[in-house]
Symmetry: C2
Subunit: 451 residues, 2 copies
């Protein structure tokens, strides 16, 4: 069983429901939509991500003989027979990856026979939730440090292997420069960055020898970690060593700081490097960084050229989850609405239209409307991406998605582009959608009938 | 490339350092230890977890031809030749999974040729950090609700597939009753729990029909979700339906609440069920639960028999990461110490001794000492688990680890077993360890020499 593609990566209740649906022959078309109920505190927008992995999952979904053998003692024969033949044959509509979006806006819609649309819920949410979470966090770092080298350093404290990989992908999509995670470079062609750890310095008998060994093994990438013992003393050693190395045509590209008061050290180190003739050497900082520390460092004028952002990025430390949901909107042609306290949903298949201000091209408000009979001005954000279980449309490379995402930041109204919570971006629920919800609540729609 | 076992799931700098170590022929024995620097706010202890996955990783570590082909253009021939033959041949010592531990106490020690011990850092931390994080969170839920059914519901908002699986494992290890994640049941033999989603109720024309369909498809597991429209009305429908079902020998096992004021609804629903002759039907609650809400519900006397805990567990919402580190303690027979500001480490190979009070058997203080020449009273917590790259010692089933973990809670001093931050558990650094650190700081040890 491959945990990354196994259909058993689902909640037990999905299989319980499937068994019941098959018994009742309830296999008509269901429509589910994925959306986020509300923004985490202090956040102003989200970035849609995870679609490519979701479509991969759907396109390749099948039960292996080993999985069926494991399931057999726990479920009835008719479910097992159904799962043997199982393929996802539905349609998917979605916002392209990298799209800025807001609460109540569907980012993905699944239209498929009820058992199929139900079974895939857990993994679709697992993928879309996580990549959206990380892209949304990464975007904030990019917005406060738009001209800096930003590198994902988080794999060691990411929540498992897939989190490490997808965090590298989602942060790159949102505008990061690259990652330290080698496998993410191999799988997604994301640029890789890395220097040395403190242990490298420590296993050498002295710091200068460590610096020199590293420089001679990697003459094209001489970035030296200088905080193992004393940061400024380390910088001074770099200056001395640089003269020696230059005789062999090796130049010091930069230094890395990883502890202490990074702003203060960066200033002192910059001065030492400049006075030592290393004006071109860059300063790279890491160590418990997040978007708030980046902003503080840069607005105080700290001369830092790049940042390694680890834990806070890969676990989205201030908001390690989003309040997202994958909810039934229609079954057998009839719109449905969940009305549980505090968890009510807007029914039906929906589209999101985005308007832009003519003056500056900035985003000027969205409308959530019914997809088929309720046209509005603006750009429709949801597009078809899968038909009858096969991907459609152009295959957009990650680099291209990243370029589009970076370009979209320029259209974000200014208050939303800061780290402070701004007044909510206007998202209007269309009149016909409100009317439909009201009708269902009043019991004229199918899901409103109660006995 | 299998992301869950690929040696490329590592930081780029590990390969940079390896290349340099090979050039300098620095392949003597290195000792690294994994520990947590400090507890998250409000926490009193941690639970060691992730060892089994770590040993699996080390035992099977090798580079595939595909991985070597990918690496070849980026690194020198001698590194590629070395990696072709790469196997982990080192020793591992560790606390058994489920052991309660505290800051500054090593939970795992790797003793191996330097390049090996270095390369495996990223994935060892990735695995041990995450499972320890989740086991430590889950333990808090178990401590506040020791007699309740506790089920992991978190896969949809876990950070990727592996996080969902390992969260199920780590929470079960810490005393949870089971999980909803089917694949975790298949892979780790963890008991599975699950009922239905709201969508199941909504696709039926009315709620009672939905209840009846579910009961008849799963007569042995009739747990009905009653909050889709109106919780108390749902409970009343269950009472009526139960009479009909009992004629066919089907009994209602319980109901699930998933929204609103769970304590208030549980009381009303309990009364409705009791008055309707369903005294034996249980009430299961879910929806944004964590250990604090569990404690509040139970201490207010809410008649809830079991809880599904999802997002807050699987992302460890209040503390989504631990400040853990994997640090060099010794190289080529000489102890090493990192002295970066705020990140200094205790040098050398260490053991942790735990004392117990004779009166009540409770844990009464730990000593962190040098492993080989510094014996102390108490139970040594760190044991050998891998020798020359192969596992040693008994293979402990997960159920047995879980029983031991549950038993260990009884030995936790009372203030530490609550949700409030208690005075720190006493962890003493032995005199000889302090002396060694001081010697290194004063420059008499190898790592202290600076030029």
């Amino acid at each position: 069983m491959n945990p990354l593609s196994s259909p058993l990566l689902t909640d037990h209740y999905q299989l319980m429901m499937l068994e019941s649906y098959l018994e009742q022959d309830m296999q008509e078309t269901a429509v589910f939509e994925l959306f986020v109920r509300k923004l985490p505190p202090g956040r102003n927008f989200m970035i849609a991500a995870g679609l490519e992995q979701t479509l991969d999952f759907l396109e390749n979904l099948k039960f292996s003989p080993e999985e069926l053998t494991w399931l057999a003692p726990h479920f009835g024969d008719s479910l097992i027979a159904y799962l043997e033949q199982f393929r996802f044959t539905g349609d998917v509509h979605a916002m392209p990856e990298g799209t800025l979006f807001f609460p109540d806006e569907p980012v993905l819609r699944v239209t498929a026979p009820l058992p199929q649309a139900q079974l895939v819920e857990s993994r679709i949410m697992n993928l879309m939730h996580f990549e959206t979470l990380i892209a949304s966090k990464a975007a904030r770092c990019v917005l406060v440090a738009p001209d800096k080298l930003l590198v994902d350093f988080g794999v060691r404290r990411a929540h498992g292997a897939e989190a490490g990989l997808l965090a590298a992908r989602a942060s790159y999509l949102a505008g990061f420069s690259g990652t330290a995670t080698v496998l993410a470079g191999a799988m997604y062609q994301i640029p890789l960055f890395g220097t040395v750890a403190h242990s490298y310095i420590q296993v050498h008998e002295d710091e200068t020898t460590a610096f020199e060994h590293f420089a001679r093994s990697h003459p094209d990438n001489v970035i030296l970690l200088i905080d193992t013992y004393d940061t400024e003393a380390g910088a001074a050693k770099v200056v001395v060593l640089a003269r020696k190395l230059s005789q062999d045509g090796i130049s010091v590209k930069g230094v890395r700081l990883d502890s202490g008061d990074l702003g203060m050290h960066a200033r002192c180190v910059r001065q030492i490097l400049d006075e030592g003739g290393l004006e071109k050497a860059t300063i790279f900082a890491s160590g418990n960084l997040d978007e708030y520390r980046l902003h503080k460092l840069l607005s105080s004028g700290a001369p830092v050229d790049g940042f390694g952002i680890g834990t806070a990025l890969d676990v989205s430390s201030d908001a390690p989850s989003l309040d997202c949901a994958y909810k039934l909107q229609e079954y057998a042609g009839k719109p449905r609405r969940k009305r549980s306290e505090g968890k009510a949903t807007w029914p039906g298949r929906k589209q999101v239209y985005r308007k832009y201000a003519s003056a500056d091209g900035c985003m000027a408000g969205d409308v959530v409307a019914l997809a088929e009979d309720d046209f509005h001005e603006g750009e429709p954000l949801i597009v078809p991406v899968m038909e009858a279980g096969r991907r459609i449309g152009e295959n957009i490379p990650l680099d291209e998605m990243r370029r589009r995402t970076l370009a979209s930041y320029a259209r974000l109204p200014m208050p939303l582009a800061t780290l402070e919570a701004a007044p909510a971006y206007p998202v209007e629920i269309s009149t016909s959608l409100r009317t439909l919800a009201k009708q269902l609540d009043e019991g004229s729609g199918a899901s409103g009938r109660q006995t």
